[in-house]
């Protein structure tokens, strides 16, 4: 672990130093998106990786975070940072409401139920006038400052905010992994009945994991809204986003602390670049590329790219 910590700190230092050398807004944007997805995918990994409860509905938390912050800001002039907190509370609420009935389902039923929940959210938000329906919400342009969570002259402040969120997510994931919760989640994934026979309230621990997952996703929703200053249902709670979170973890290494980070740094730049350079005539090429990526990983590195770095020690 000593070596792992060293690599981690080195990596974070490099990330922190990048804006000092690379002022290019496009590179900056890609890195921001990468770190945002890494943060969310770490969140996905807590429930989908450690606990083995595959969620295809995590984008709903992203949407709740983004919409809560936006509505509080637009309609009630509530500071976005407070909006972020409120978003987390609502996201945890949603996680509990969805998790309570769904975690009783065995096997893949949870995954299917989360797809349904995610899609229901899209339908509701697309038709709900109060939240702007299909048009969405424009954030008011405020004076740029950290307190207002808005910056117009440069992307770099956003870069550092999302970097902090990423570090926070890694810290949370690390604490989970090293604590009783992490051990219990792995036991639940491995053999739920065996876990119950050892006194583990599997329902409770799945709920805790799902709530942590919800928070880490929700803060990214808030961030995204403040970064783009415009949100609408298909940009904030699309099923594809939920699937990407899963694929990123899969590419990097499911159930591993740094799996989602590695996955995001491979997947997101690739996606963004194909989208930009192939443009609209390349519609679907990005999908082909990442399908190939997933197939290659499945064949050569079923444990994910993470396995390249860890050499044997599991």
């Amino acid at each position: 672990m000593k070596k792992g910590l060293f690599v981690f700190i080195l990596f974070m230092c490099i990330l922190a130093a990048v804006p000092l050398f690379l002022g290019d807004p496009f590179v900056c944007h890609i890195l921001i998106m990468t770190m945002m997805y890494a943060t969310m995918s770490i969140g996905w990994n807590v429930i989908g990786g450690y606990a083995g409860q595959v969620s295809f509905g995590n984008a709903a938390f992203f949407g709740v975070g983004a919409y809560t912050t936006a509505i509080l800001l637009v309609n009630f002039s509530v500071n976005p940072w407070l909006g972020m907190l409120a978003g987390c509370v609502l996201s945890v609420g949603l996680a509990v409401v969805v998790g309570y009935p769904c975690f009783r389902l065995r096997g893949h039923y949870f995954a299917i139920a989360t797809i349904a929940v995610g899609e229901i959210m899209v339908v509701i938000f697309t038709n709900w006038d109060y939240v702007g329906a299909a048009v969405g919400i424009y954030m008011p342009i405020l004076e740029e400052s950290f307190t207002n969570f808005e910056f117009h002259s440069s992307k770099i402040p956003y870069y550092y905010i999302i970097l902090c969120m990423l570090v926070f997510a890694i810290a949370v994931s690390y604490i989970v992994e090293e604590s009783r919760l992490g051990y219990y989640l792995r036991a639940i994934k491995d053999d739920p009945d065996g876990a119950r026979s050892l006194g583990i309230d599997i329902q409770k621990y799945k709920m805790i994991a799902f709530s942590i997952s919800a928070v880490l996703t929700s803060i990214c929703g808030t961030f995204y809204g403040q970064y783009v200053l415009y949100i609408h249902p298909s940009s904030t709670m699309d099923l594809m986003m939920s699937i990407h979170l899963c694929i990123i973890a899969l590419i990097g290494g499911i159930g591993k602390l740094f799996g989602p980070v590695i996955g995001a740094f491979v997947f997101i730049p690739l996606m963004e670049l194909t989208r930009v350079y192939l443009g609209s005539e390349g519609q679907g090429i990005d999908m082909i590329i990442y399908s190939l990526l997933v197939i290659m990983i499945a064949i050569w590195r079923p444990q994910g790219l993470w396995a390249l770095f860890s050499r044997g020690d599991k």
């Binding site: 051990y183 219990y184 792995r186 036991a187 994934k189 053999d191 065996g194 026979s197 006194g199």
Partner: protein
Amino acid sequence: MSSDILIVDNVTKRFGGLTANADISFSIKEGEIIGLIGPNGAGKSTLFNCISCFYNADGGRIVFKGQEITRKDPESICRMGIGRTFQIVRTFKDMNVLENIMIGAFLRNPKRKDAQARSEEVAGVFRFTDKLYLKATSLTISEQKRLEVARVFATGPKVMLLDEMMAGLNIHEIKESVELVLRLREMGITLVLVEHVMEGIMPIANRIVVLDYGEKIAEGTPDEVVNNEKVIEAYFGKKYAKRRENKTRIQ
């Protein structure tokens, strides 16, 4: 009566038309070793599942330390102090030996460091000290069965229900298992063992309960039970029992 730690009172469990446990009653005193035997399909594992609340009994009551537990759930049962193993090994496949035991130890030791220290002690009792970092799946089946017992032991049970822990072991391993069971009793644990291995269970059990086709057909000391007509019939068939009866009459 007050020394009965576990009471099984008229427990019935049906699967559709099949009655896997029919009005089974017996009670267990603290510190006893009880053997639960019977041919395959007699309902032994089902009874374990009822006691540990993996199944809810359709009728009857189960009382542990004076408290009715019939309708509780498996995790509460474990927390109350009844630990069980499974007939088919269920170690956590992706974890090593130490981690498997830690999952049990966490119940009474929420801090990771304490759980690890406790697990290392437990590993000593179960002779895993030099195998702590091996994957559970790399162990032999008999070692995996022992690991399962170790991991339940780490939850700090008062009663342990062990389902066929000696099945498939060689003579040497059976001897070790027997010693282990006796050691657990010395530590104050009451044990119920489902066993087919008679040379394992008969010498150490205080009492034997025999099931056949879901019914309790006999209960008594090992000696009483092996000479019981119904038991011989259940194991060897009516013909053999008759022949044996005639023979003893002639003598």
